[in-house]
Symmetry: C2
Subunit: 451 residues, 2 copies
């Protein structure tokens, strides 16, 4: 069943679109999962993609839209009328529906919402649109299966048959009291293995996990991963546990992927979620700022070295080690910041900041000394100048220790300030460490060589 | 319900362990989810942790063991007898049981397996242990709910009541024919909304996703994320679809987390999965090799610069720009490699390698020219030497282009060779780019200044 997007398949689809052979096209695409069709459409040009979307029934296309690349989806939606978008939205669960609408420009949003016929669906979408991005509310769906504690298993089953039709996947059945407040959960399994005359209140599992509607998405992801949850109910607030919706693991999986990619890119000096197929301009916008930072750092290093020029006319050789010093400072800084950033993300950075810094200092010292010995032997062997060798290797140790401390401290500091520490790994740390490194290097070398 | 591991709580647990107040300890811990208890044990010292493990019933402790940090679990297991471990294993699903046993030293493995009483459980665990790491087989559980196409809904429900008891979570019900071959799936929901006299063969969804038992774990994760699956059945082979087990999304979530962390660390020049709480020696082992690479690169740069020394006695200023050149080469290289590595991971790197390289060249040229202009103006303004300014900025452009090409080509090359391209980002690229960058820089500068 493994789907693979071959050039043949792509050519075939493009061909059928050109010939406008709708019958054959529908027949061909009916074979594929909507996620696969989305993969195909992502490779077609806009006109072709729109043609296919307009051809297929909105039951399928609504799912396809969700799976499209964001940029492509935006373009496709531009080519659909408010009426057409509304029809797609009618088919979607409230969470996906709200996501689609949220991507539209303000005025279109109202136009589309106005065209939604199902009043309940419309109200629920409006509610979801009101929650801030990156909160549980922005991720949850209104669709869920809910029963009252007073019901019997048999009654439950009857009611569930009704509710379940609108719910794509029944994970848990949420049990509420007459004020609609969450009091526990049930699995379908529990219902099936139970006797039909039993009361729900006898079966309900009361210690159910839940999140507050304003909880941060990252925290929701952490909880669901930690407790191996497939769905988590969302409540209004800790003191008013009215059940508002539920978040399913598939949405969390997407969140985790995006998060991981963002951090990875940020560590590499790329801002904004770009991928290798984006335009050169998009990629430049994402990469140039960090390169500028590097340029400024380099100019800083230049100024420092110029400042030491006089003292070193007799030790020109020292200048040849500056790339080495800068590189080591950068690498060590990135290493220690990466460890801290990750520790913070998994919130297993326990203990005091001082302990961290002391540990990192020892670690850096250990690495530094080992590396310094190698460097010392190299310089001594090749140059035969004991002093130079000593100066270079001694300052390397100092540089590495400082680099480690900066790499540890900066992310901790940013985190305390409520700034995403991930920006600290990569160019930010490298650049600052280049400058500090070179400064410390020349300064110590100057002392040792006594000039 | 938010659990938070406070120092007070930790102190309380430690206190009760010291006083050996088992009653109070059991009462206290009964309140917590096993994942939370694991979090507590991770903070206790070994004796304390083992004490708690031996105190609680194996129903709970088996789940706790799974959630412990790998290093801590290893230590704890060392302190349990084969008999005790076997008792834990009896309580676990086959996949977790196999994971625990796989972590034991060879001879203990056989000892523990011998002590497992439930014969079926034992055989299933042995089967799972036989599959290679990083294959679907190593991740799947034998527990699943299976029905035959010939059954009726009513019959099904009866049988499921039996099977479901052993299955932690019923996601899908897998439908097999009399040769035990997978022919489709059903959701509990489908069963509940169906009429009790209906035949399964009428309800079964035949286009079910499945994976081959030898499929790579990364591929399984990609599929489950793409198709929003909560569980996927595992079959023996594409031509012999005998149903062997199923993989659930919670295991995939863990896999995705580990993958993301590994790539992130690799990009930062850290090998082996270490975290901020590991010992200084573990951290050194993970970090030092990459620093050595950096050292060698630096020494390479040194040799190059020394080679150009003669020609530049009148242009000492050029040496002051080497950290800048090296930094830019490094940053650009990391940026382009990160984009490619991520593209390869999401396998959306389509089109030919040449197109990639051309695109990256244009991108780098664009960035390079913008940065070069800034640098040119700076040098010209401060030094007033038009030639130097020209030489420095012209070579910066060249360096950036080459760095971009290396950063793009290396991961693509490694990937073709079947090597994880993730090692290409970080120190590996930075170091090689430092050397190439400085070489190109001096070489071009020399041409332009005509020396």
């Amino acid at each position: 069943m493994q789907f693979e997007l071959t050039d043949e398949l792509l050519a075939q689809v493009e061909g059928l679109v050109e010939e406008q052979d709708d019958k054959a096209l529908q027949k061909l695409l009916k074979e594929f999962h909507y996620a696969d069709i989305a993969e195909i459409l992502d490779e077609l040009n806009l006109e072709q993609a729109v043609y296919v979307i307009k051809l297929l029934d909105s039951k399928t296309t609504s799912d396809i839209l969700i799976e499209l690349d964001e940029d492509n989806r935006e373009k496709v939606l531009k080519n659909l009328t408010a009426q057409e978008i509304a029809e797609e939205v009618e088919e979607l669960d409230t969470d996906d529906a709200a996501d689609i609408i949220a991507e539209l420009p303000e005025e279109r949003q109202t136009a589309v919402i106005a065209k939604i016929e199902d009043e309940e669906h419309k109200e629920e979408i409006k509610e979801l649109l009101a929650y801030d991005e990156n909160t549980a509310g922005s991720l949850m769906a209104k669709e869920l299966v809910k029963v009252y504690e007073t019901w019997t298993v048999a009654g439950c089953m009857r009611r569930i048959r009704g509710q379940a039709k609108e719910v794509t996947r029944v994970h848990s059945i949420y049990v509420v009291n007459k004020e609609e407040k969450l009091i526990g959960r049930l699995s379908l399994k529990d219902l099936i293995v139970a006797k039909s005359e039993q009361k729900i209140s006898e079966l309900v599992k009361v210690n159910v996990d839940f999140v507050n509607v304003n909880e941060r998405v990252e925290e929701v992801a952490r909880l669901m991963a930690k407790y191996d949850l497939e769905a988590i109910p969302v409540i209004e607030s800790d003191d008013n546990k009215v059940l508002l919706g539920r978040i399913t693991i598939d949405d969390i999986v997407d969140v985790m992927k995006e998060e991981a990619e963002r951090d990875y890119q940020m560590a590499a000096g790329i801002t904004g979620d770009v991928d290798s197929d984006d335009s050169i301009l998009q990629l430049t916008r994402a990469r140039l700022p960090w390169l500028f930072l590097g340029l400024i750092g380099g100019i800083g290093a230049f100024v420092i070295m110029e400042g030491f020029q006089e003292s070193f006319n007799k030790y020109a050789v020292l200048f040849f080690f500056t790339p080495l010093i800068a590189a080591m400072a950068g690498n060590v800084g990135v290493q220690s910041s990466a460890i801290i950033v990750q520790g913070l993300a998994n919130d297993d950075v326990k203990g005091s900041v001082n302990d961290r810094l002391i540990k990192e200092m020892l670690l850096a010292a250990l690495n530094g000394i080992i590396l310094a010995i190698v460097l010392f032997l190299f310089v001594w062997a090749t140059k035969g100048e004991l002093n130079t060798a000593l100066a270079v290797s001694a300052s390397l140790v100092a540089v590495i220790i400082v680099a480690g401390l900066i790499g540890t401290f900066v992310p901790l500091f940013l985190d305390k300030r409520g700034i995403d520490p991930a920006i600290a790994t990569g160019p930010f740390i490298t650049t600052s460490n280049d400058i500090f490194g070179i400064l410390i290097y020349f300064w110590i070398a100057k002392m040792i060589l006594g000039i």
